[in-house]
């Protein structure tokens, strides 16, 4: 493992995310959203009729729903004008549905993912990798030994063709219907790319599978859809990474994630989000967890101009468990509004939510969360802990939890603290020979450690590097 760590530390992380490539595409839609656009996307993908119908119904719902504007303290979305967004760009690649060798990709795309360190990570630590460039998965590969066990890891567009029954049953039906919110409806209309993961009964995928999402073009929207089905007794860890270079116009990312955790299955979904600071990141992620199943969400939100993301778990079966670990870092001009939602709909269900947020240079973080314990979910237990660290007087740190408890035989606890970086801690570290910046970085690293230790080492290192970058130069 140490070699990966060295590799990542040697790479200039900033350069890895900030570079941009010339925009080159095979097909792109006009800006804006019309029925025509939706039909074009579906046609370009040669989709079955039912998927087109779902898209068109989602489009109708999108048009009927108002923009969310009345959430207390929510990020300003007035700039998000869908008529200024190019919703669909198919990059210029020959193999639809993703090449299986990096060498088969056009050089500039290959170079992009090289710089992001994806092929390197694949060699060392992953069971499978998918890479999305603009609206399409361009690379997808999984180690043969998982394929032999019946594990499926492919891009979502291919899944519509090759696993039609499974997709038809699970795609935006019970988990995230388009009616859930305006951006879920938008997503349902124009989704493209993303991953499909299927893990058969009693199968454990020991190393994580990863998808990496990259937006390269200015003013585009990325709407990838991820569907994970983990059958009874199975286990899988899915990692998602995201980035985009910064342009002057805004970009929109509105992904959809649906996870079905079977009985006694275990799914971990980890995200390190580093969208450029002109990106609006408005996602809907939800899991439905059957009896004795476990869902774990690990999220690091570093990038974007504004994020509204509240991964949700519905604990549907008795003794199902949910764990949320979330970290948000907001610097200058960023508004990171994130949190968690858990619905305890069965007895003996448990959830824990651990949130850490850091705000500096005028950035705003908000923990917004909902825990709902339904009548009949007796002996349920939930524990929520939110800690926030503030660097300066220009920044904002909000905490807005909501608890709805309809059952009396429960154990519900919520705790939150907000504080500044302790002068005494900084002084202590300085007296041990660290300079101010290093001392503060060390304090932040310690603050988020409970979260980084849940991530595979490469990602923990990555997250720490990103935080160091955020903190460089602006302190002291």
């Amino acid at each position: 493992m140490s070699s990966d760590q060295d590799h990542l530390q040697e790479t200039d992380t900033e350069a890895r995310f900030e570079f941009k490539k010339e925009e080159k595409s095979a097909f792109e839609t006009e800006k804006g959203l019309t029925e025509e656009t939706v039909r074009l996307i579906s046609e370009d993908k040669d989709e079955p009729e039912w998927m087109l119908e779902r898209r068109l119904r989602a489009l109708e719902q999108y048009q009927e729903m108002p923009m969310p504007t009345d959430w207390p303290g929510q990020p300003d979305l007035s700039e998000v004008d869908i008529d200024e967004i190019v919703p669909y760009i198919r990059p210029d690649i020959e193999t639809r549905g993703g090449a299986e060798e990096w060498e088969d990709l056009p050089e500039e795309i290959q170079d992009t993912f090289d710089k992001l360190g994806i092929p390197e990570a694949e060699k060392n630590a992953l069971s499978g990798v998918g890479a999305q460039y603009e609206s399409e998965i361009v690379y997808q590969n999984m180690q043969e030994r998982w394929e032999e066990k019946g594990v499926v890891f492919c891009d979502m567009d291919r899944a519509v063709q090759e696993h039609e029954d499974l997709v038809r049953e699970h795609f935006m039906t019970t988990c995230v219907p388009p009616s859930d919110n305006k951006f879920a409806a938008l997503h349902g209309a124009v989704w493209s790319g993303g991953s499909f993961v299927y893990v058969p009964e009693d199968t454990t995928v020991e190393m994580p599978v990863q998808a990496y999402f990259r937006m390269n073009s200015e003013g585009m929207g990325q709407f990838e859809h991820t569907l994970i089905i983990a059958e009874e007794g199975s286990e899988v860890h899915y990692i998602e990474g995201c980035s985009a270079p910064k342009y002057s116009a805004f970009n929109l990312h509105s992904g959809g994630v649906e996870v079905f955790v079977g009985e006694n299955a275990h799914v971990q979904y980890s995200t390190v989000q580093n969208w450029s600071k002109n990106t609006y990141n408005l996602n809907t992620k939800r899991a439905i967890c059957e009896a004795d199943g476990t869902m774990e969400w690990v999220s690091g939100s570093m990038g974007s101009k504004a994020t509204m993301l509240y991964p949700s778990t519905v604990l549907k079966g008795p003794a199902a468990t949910d764990n949320h670990i979330t970290i948000a870092f907001a610097g200058e001009g960023q508004n990171i509004d994130t949190g968690a939602k858990v619905y305890h709909n069965a007895p003996d269900t448990k959830s824990t939510i651990e949130s850490k947020s850091i705000s500096k240079d005028g950035g705003r973080t908000n923990y917004r969360g909902l825990v709902h314990i339904a009548d009949g979910a007796e002996d349920s237990k939930t524990n929520v802990e939110c800690d926030a660290l503030m660097f300066d007087n220009e920044s904002t740190s909000d905490t807005m939890p909501y608890m709805e408890i309809q059952e009396n035989e429960v154990d519900v606890a919520h705790e939150a603290t907000v504080g500044k970086i302790g002068d005494e801690d900084v002084f202590y570290l300085q007296s041990r020979g660290l300079d101010d910046d290093d001392a503060k970085q060390m304090i932040v690293a310690g603050f988020i450690e409970p979260i980084t230790e849940e991530l595979p080492i490469e990602y923990a290192v990555e997250l720490n590097r990103l935080i160091e970058l955020e903190m460089e130069g602006s302190l002291g």
Binding site: N393, M403, V412, V418, G419
Partner: protein, 403 residues
């Protein structure tokens, strides 16, 4: 937009209320402005989550609840040495400048639809004035509502370095068929280094819909403390708030509620830290039985000028019944990093081990549960400085447990 439930109130009715008491022009204007604003004003804010509204105020039939012309009550005042305690209309006559200056200075008379309704229609109230440097005796006010609807107003002004404790109790007297409506606005002004403790005990009949706003302004080194006990009413929406405007000011807001049957309590404690070295402590404890429902919102808002802030909030709800519901949203809004802030909230049932311990000592389970409920309220009762309020609250809790 309150098109939904416009009570049939005429300008003439408002003028009649004002003329009966021979009110000065400014107060009549304030009332008429509030009346005119009703069409534009929104209902008080309620918390919404996806698919759910925590308190529904729009379905109430204000048309039948509000009857401006038949307001009736009994009010008892206990004279307190050191404080001027006057019915609102006597205060308007005797201290015209004081009342005109302070009326509406803390609670916006048009804060929302229901507050404006109260401004337009209030017929009774109390002004408590404590002069500079005076430590007054405890002030006790008891209001018994005898009509369909009653609108009450209270103003507390404690001048520099004054000290006063006020206990205001509300209950229902003569029976009225059907539902009733009680509304109260309380404004507290604490001058530099002044100290005000305002305790309220609401025990209205369970046909009564109850809307109350209590708000204080604390100047430099002032202390504003609220105690808000809610036992009665069918539905209560009560907001208790302090703005810490002065350097070194502090506030404590203590809440206690005990709901049963189909009672609904929507309780909010809010504090704004707006200056340096301010401290706040919000503590609420509630018990729910039968199909009762509680909604709690706590807000600790630290402004960017509020250096060296300490702010704490605790809320605990005990659920005695499977049919009850407890909703809570403790919020932190922090805009200054030189802050130490925390909040915690818990919901749970009577502790099995404690119950087991007590029953193993020979107590029957029912009596043991009652004792645990009484014990649950102890941390908030300890905050109550007025013996009478504490004893009243204890009695009402005990009475509810017996039923």
């Amino acid at each position: 937009m309150s098109t939904q439930v416009h009570p049939d109130i005429s300008e003439q009715q408002v003028r009649t209320i004002s003329e009966t008491e021979d009110e000065p022009e400014w107060l009549l204007e304030t009332r008429l402005d509030a009346l005119a604003a009703l069409d534009e004003l929104e209902m008080p804010e309620v918390i919404r989550t996806p698919g759910r509204t925590w308190t529904n105020l729009t379905d109430l039939d204000y048309e039948t609840l509000v009857d401006p012309e038949t307001q009736a009550e009994e009010k008892e005042w206990v004279d307190a040495e050191g404080a001027a305690v006057l019915p609102i209309h006597e205060a308007v006559e005797q201290h015209p400048e004081l009342v005109e200056e302070r009326f509406g200075s803390v609670v916006d008379p048009q804060r929302n639809y229901l507050t404006a309704l109260s401004t337009a229609l209030f017929t009774t109230g109390t002004v408590i004035h404590v002069p500079e440097g005076t430590a007054a005796e405890d002030v006790k006010i008891r209001t018994t509502m005898n009509s369909r609807s009653l609108f009450n107003y209270t103003l507390v002004v404690a001048e520099e370095s004054a000290e006063v404790t006020i206990l205001e109790r509300q209950s229902t007297g003569e029976a009225v068929d059907g539902h009733r409506y009680y509304s109260a606005t309380v404004e507290v002004v604490a001058g530099n280094n002044a100290s005000v403790q305002y305790g309220s005990l609401q025990n209205l009949s369970e046909e009564t819909y109850n809307y109350q706003v209590k708000r204080g302004h604390a100047a430099d080194d002032a202390s504003v403390e609220f105690i808000d006990g809610n036992i009665g009413s069918r539905l209560s929406k009560s907001s208790v708030e302090t703005r810490l405007l002065g350097e070194g000011s502090e506030s404590r807001i203590v809440g206690a509620f005990f709901g049963h049957d189909e009672q609904h309590f929507d309780i909010a404690s809010r504090v704004w830290h707006e200056n340096e070295h301010t401290t706040a402590d919000l503590v609420t404890r509630g018990v729910l039985d039968d199909e009762a429902r509680s909604v709690y919102e706590g807000v600790q808002d630290v402004g960017s000028a509020a250096w060296d802030t300490s702010s704490y909030q605790r809320e605990n709800t005990l659920m005695l019944s499977d049919e009850s519901e407890a909703d809570a949203s403790p919020k932190l809004i922090i805009n200054n990093h030189d802050t130490e802030a925390s909040h915690s909230a818990t919901v749970g049932q009577v502790d099995d081990e404690e119950l087991f311990y007590m029953t193993s000592r020979g107590l029957d389970p029912e009596r043991a549960t009652d004792m645990l409920v009484e014990g649950f309220f102890v941390p908030v009762l300890e905050e109550v400085a007025v013996d009478e309020l504490r004893e009243d609250l204890e009695d009402l809790v005990a009475e509810r447990l017996r039923n």
